[in-house]
């Protein structure tokens, strides 16, 4: 589909990977054709609370740009962390 964009956070998804991730999502947010941003967690081996904060920021920006965020391919520790934080209540997780 042309109106979705996949974002690929670093293997270690934490505050240090914020800049690269933000650069990618800002491009996607600026695009008028993009409707859905997919955060592909396939490669993520570690995630911390700062990264959860980054996802929340992304969600805020997406909502104000009238786009939605989906989280795909969750597994391992990242899956546990997002489940404990109950992020399925505010994100579409596939």
């Amino acid at each position: 589909m042309t109106n979705t964009v996949s974002l690929h956070p670093a293997t270690r998804f934490d505050f240090n990977s914020f800049r690269d991730f933000r650069r990618d999502y800002e491009v996607a947010l600026a695009s008028p054709t993009v409707r859905v941003l997919i955060v592909d967690m396939k490669n993520v081996q570690y995630i911390d609370s700062a990264a959860l904060g980054i996802l929340l920021l992304l969600r805020d920006h997406a909502v104000s740009a009238n786009k939605t965020v989906e989280i795909h391919n969750l597994h391992g520790i990242a899956k546990d962390v997002l489940e404990i934080a109950n992020f399925q209540k505010i994100f579409t997780i596939r």
């Binding site: 505050f15 911390d48 609370s49 700062a50 959860l52 904060g53 980054i54 929340l56 920021l57 805020d60 962390v81 489940e83 404990i84 934080a85 109950n86 992020f87 209540k89 505010i90």
Partner: protein
């Protein structure tokens, strides 16, 4: 790049003039000196960026001048020195470089080479300045950070309230990852001896984490002391956090309220790993999993503040809660402590449980510091029998002077009853009016029992016998929530009166609900003492023991509870006569 300030040292005045003219044409400034001694005086007084020194001079020669300028530079910072010399052989160049100068230029001076060398050192000088500026900046940041750490340590220390954590029913451990932790443990006791605990894990560490925890801890201590419902507290904490922190900063938290009077435990968990309810033998009786989003993520419309209510068994139990730093703590090989190992360790008798956990954690970590904060807390739940010192003591104890007289009447309709957490609100109002301090605890308890009877049985039509069925307690609270949500009609009238005469102080609480009432005559016939179990759910046994007088009117939908206690004997109070 700014122009260079050049110092040229040569006893030959002509060469000095030529260098001066040439360097000024390049846009730099130049100061001349005819001898090594004079050059040292100048260098001590002014700042230069580059020094040109003639090798052969009467008196102090170029080699010695170089060494002395270098000595001055030890305090003032390195600047390049170029030596000019008539002798151009290799030995002479080596000697010059060994004496400490940075470059060598043969005489007669080739001005193209001199210009190239000046430009080369110009770039180096610029880099040097940049490095010096960066260094200064780094020192400034390091100082700032040290200051921030000091302030956040101070803040966290204040937030923790160690006096509250030192509770005989609490065991805890908190190991911050850095100097300052993002984990906060809080304990508080209400006037009615309900015990509240909370473990909060803020995003990040240091000052940002400490700052985001300030409003939360203030709200927690204030509301728990007044005996607010746990769900009201969580609702307010979520609002507080949203009001004070940006959207990517949230706080994972678990909070619990243990009510020893009814031996119930309420738990709210948003973003903290499962907490365990254990008995003395180490059997896991229940897991309180995270059912909610952490604090500060969604607004009050989406925030779910409903709590899990758990009726505890008759045996003593313990609630164990911990932050994810404990199971994520890595040993030297990068292996996490793990939730399976924790769960296994917890399943042992109370008296050895935490000591074993601590020993295993220390062995696991070794010299290796944990990556994240490690904290845990164990709350000991021991039921207080209804005829405890609480009820007795407050009736027997000495009066505290003549009380103020006041009367409060309230009529609350369904809308307020759905929305408000009444007991702390009304208690606070009565305190302001002049509720006798020594009666505040027992007052809150009576008020809560009467209000919950009026609500649950009067307006919502719940039967307390439900609580005695298997899983009845959970079912009861579920039903209560559903009916409260749907409540549209009904009201509760409340009248509270405090007065005193010469010998006795009186406090009466009258609660009248618009429900159908109940057959209190039968209750009075049976006698409270003889059949306590039958009316357990209504808390009437407790009330009848605490109150000086308990009376039902109308259809049983109107109840009046009275407390009497002696006024202070004025003569007896006069000390030492």
């Amino acid at each position: 790049m700014r122009p260079l300030r050049i110092l040229a040292v040569d006893d030959d005045a002509l060469i000095g003039i030529i260098i001066n003219t040439f360097t000024r044409q390049l846009g730099h400034t130049c100061q001349l000196s005819a001898s090594g001694e004079e050059a040292l005086d100048l260098y001590a007084q002014q700042d230069f960026d580059l020094v040109l020194i003639d090798r052969m001079m009467p008196g102090m020669d170029g080699l010695e001048t170089t060494q002395r300028v270098r000595a001055l530079q030890e305090q003032r910072g390195w600047r390049p020195i170029i030596m000019l010399s008539g002798a151009s052989d290799v030995d002479e160049q080596v000697l010059a470089l060994n004496s400490g100068c940075d470059d060598f230029l043969a005489k007669p001076i080739n001005f193209n080479i001199l210009e190239a060398k000046i430009n080369s050192f110009w770039r180096i000088a610029d880099m040097q300045q940049q490095i010096a500026r960066n260094h200064e900046e780094l020192v400034r940041y390091a100082n700032l950070e040290a200051e921030e750490k000091r302030i956040s340590s101070f803040l966290m220390e204040r937030l923790v309230r160690r006096d509250m954590l030192d509770n005989p029913n609490i065991e805890h451990y908190l190991q911050p990852a850095q100097v300052v932790s993002g984990d906060l443990l809080m304990v508080s006791t209400s006037r009615t001896d309900d015990l509240y605990v909370m473990l909060a894990d803020a995003t990040g560490h240091g000052l940002p984490a400490a700052l985001s925890l300030i409003p939360l801890s203030q709200t927690f201590y204030a509301m728990t002391a007044k005996g607010f419902q746990l769900s009201s507290i969580m609702h307010e904490l979520n609002q507080q956090h949203r009001a004070h922190s940006p959207s990517d900063r949230f706080v994972a938290a678990i909070a619990a309220c243990y009510r020893p009077m009814d031996n119930t435990l309420e738990v709210w968990n948003g973003g903290i790993p499962k907490a365990f309810l254990l008995n003395n033998d180490g059997e896991i009786l229940w897991r309180f999993r995270s059912a909610n989003l952490p604090l500060g993520i969604v607004d009050h419309k989406l925030f779910d503040s409903s709590v899990e209510v758990f009726k505890l068994p008759d045996e003593p139990t313990q609630l164990f809660m911990y932050s994810d730093g404990l199971i994520e703590a890595e040993d030297v090989h990068g292996t996490a402590f793990g939730k399976d190992r924790l769960e296994q360790l917890l399943q042992q008798p109370l008296n050895s449980r935490l000591a074993t956990l601590q020993a295993c954690l220390s062995a696991h970590l070794g010299q290796h510091a944990a990556h994240d904060d490690v904290s845990y807390l164990q709350l000991l739940c021991k039921e207080q029998s209804n005829s405890s010192s609480f009820g007795q003591g407050t009736v027997i104890d000495k009066g505290s002077g003549n009380t103020e007289n006041w009367n409060l009447q309230l009529r609350l309709s369904a809308q307020q009853l759905k929305r408000l957490d009444l007991e702390p609100l009304i208690t606070h109002f009565c305190q302001t009016l002049g509720l006798e301090e020594s009666r505040q605890g027992v007052f809150g308890l009576i008020l809560r029992e009467l209000l919950s009877n009026a609500m649950d049985h009067g307006l919502l039509g719940l039967t307390s016998s439900l609580k005695h069925e298997a899983n009845g307690f959970e079912r009861y609270f579920q039903l209560r929530n559903e009916r409260l949500m749907a409540l549209e009609n009904g009201e509760i009238q409340l009248e509270i009166n405090q007065s005193s005469d010469a010998h006795t102080n009186h406090l009466s609480i009258s609660v009248c609900d618009s429900g159908p009432g109940f057959d209190f005559a039968k209750l009075e016939q049976a006698g409270l003492q003889n059949d306590p179990d039958r009316y357990h759910g209504r808390g009437l046994l407790l009330l009848s023991k605490i109150c000086s007088h308990l009376e039902f009117r109308g259809n049983g939908n109107h109840v009046i509870a009275e407390l009497h206690w002696p006024s202070e004997d004025v003569a007896g109070a006069t000390h030492g006569t």
